[in-house]
Amino acid sequence: MLVIRGLTRAGLEPFDFDLADGECVSVRGPSGGGKTTLLRAIADLDPSTGDLSLDGAARESMPAPQWRRAVCYLAAESGWWEDGVGAHFPDPDAACALLPEFGLAGEALEWPVSRLSTGERQRLALARLILIAPRVLLLDEPTSGLDPETTELVEKLLRDRLENGVSILMVTHDRDQERRLATRSLHVENGRVSEESP
């Protein structure tokens, strides 16, 4: 369970929140309201103050990379640091086994990143993250560039993760998706976070 007490930074008012294992909570609100800021602060990608813990272990008690592998953030715009897709997957066998679940063939690993479509980038970035087996997924619009069929594939995969006890905090503008996946919902506006019924 992810426990957040008094999380705050510039552009974000102090915020308390519990995310149970296997729970999916959606995050919505106007653009520029602080949704991305909130997710980045939880992942410790921007300096923030407050007490965060995962299964009882405080965020500051572990090195930041270890925290981020457990509480993993997926940016809306994916980043790539090598020319080939394969270089971003340390375990190619595991990647080949997972990619079909995203509607991608294993040979995608041999493609150059420059040739990927937006949707392919988005799915590969999510696959890259799923493969390090985080406990909490912080997803920033994970299906915004996908067609309905691939969105369905991704949602099925996310439901699978939820059943395995992974928790998800997800920014989405799609109300139907919210109803399909989330049990609770957060509203973020002007840096103020409030809970809403979905």
Binding site: D46, P65, C72, L74, G79, W80, L129
Partner: protein, 267 residues
């Protein structure tokens, strides 16, 4: 040693070439004549002043004044490094990063050369120490300026790639690795290039000077080799220090990318 002493008239004759160029600039409407003459005037004044300073320093033979002059040269080089950056760090870092890297590497390499290879008596003799430092500093400055510039623009341009790695739990040294290596390569390349072109395309200035002053070519070659190795070492250490410390400044203990420590882009 027998060398030909130039009279002011000789220099004035050479300067007529510049006047000719300025006339051409007016004729072709390049509008460069004013800049050209100002630059030339600056060169004359600066070099004459330097001649005076060196003459005084050589006569003084004082370790204090020699090291003060050396420090002054390095502080000026630091300003030049800062001026050559498109993106800058906030606060004192924009000046301090390049300057401290150069002070570190140039002092190290110059003292190393003076105490173990050239060995003048005393080892800090201004006639040897300052020209040596000047040559090492000039090249290190170019390397450090290029390295820092590449680091800062690279960090900003590669932001999403670096943050993607950090978000996946890669430590900062790994996430920044590509940008750091690219910045170091950029800083070192001019030195590597000049080593491979030297002797084929160009006769280096110092060697030319020694030959004109009557030194036997092989002796001048030995000096030039020594200098080139010192320059390569000084540039290497300087670029290394500047890029690593700069990369440290752009990240923090919690392995975050801190682009907030960069000033907003001026262009």
């Amino acid at each position: 040693m027998n060398f030909i002493i130039l009279s002011p008239v000789d220099i004035a004759i050479a300067a007529t070439l510049l006047i000719l160029n300025a006339a051409l600039s007016i004729f072709l409407r390049l509008r460069l004549e004013k800049q050209m003459l100002v630059a030339a005037a600056r060169m004359v004044v600066q070099l004459l002043l330097m001649g005076l300073v060196l003459k005084t320093l050589f006569n003084l033979d004082s370790a204090l004044f020699t090291s003060l002059t050396a420090l002054f040269m390095m502080l000026f080089a630091g300003r030049e490094v800062m001026a050559r950056q498109k993106r800058r760090l906030k606060g004192w870092w924009s000046y301090g990063l390049g300057t401290s890297s150069m002070v570190f590497s140039c002092t190290l390499v110059t003292v190393f050369a003076l105490t173990t290879q050239v060995r003048p008596d005393p080892w800090y003799e201004a006639r040897i120490a300052l020209p040596l430092l000047g040559m090492i500093l000039g090249n290190t400055m170019t390397g450090v300026a290029l390295g820092i510039d590449r680091l800062l623009t690279g960090a900003a341009a590669e932001r999403s790639a670096i943050e993607a790695r950090l978000a996946l739990g890669h430590p900062r040294a790994e996430a920044f690795g590509n940008v750091i290596r690219e910045a170091m390569r950029t800083g070192m390349i001019p030195t590597v290039n000049s080593m491979s072109a030297i002797g084929l395309v160009s006769i280096p200035g110092m060697m030319t000077g020694q030959i004109l002053a009557g030194v036997a070519p092989m002796e001048a070659v030995k000096y030039q080799l020594l200098i080139m190795f010192l320059i390569a070492g000084g540039t290497g250490f300087g670029v290394l220090a500047a890029v690593l410390v700069g990369a440290g400044r752009l990240t923090d203990q919690r392995h975050r990318l801190r682009l907030d420590r960069l000033r907003a882009s001026s262009d």
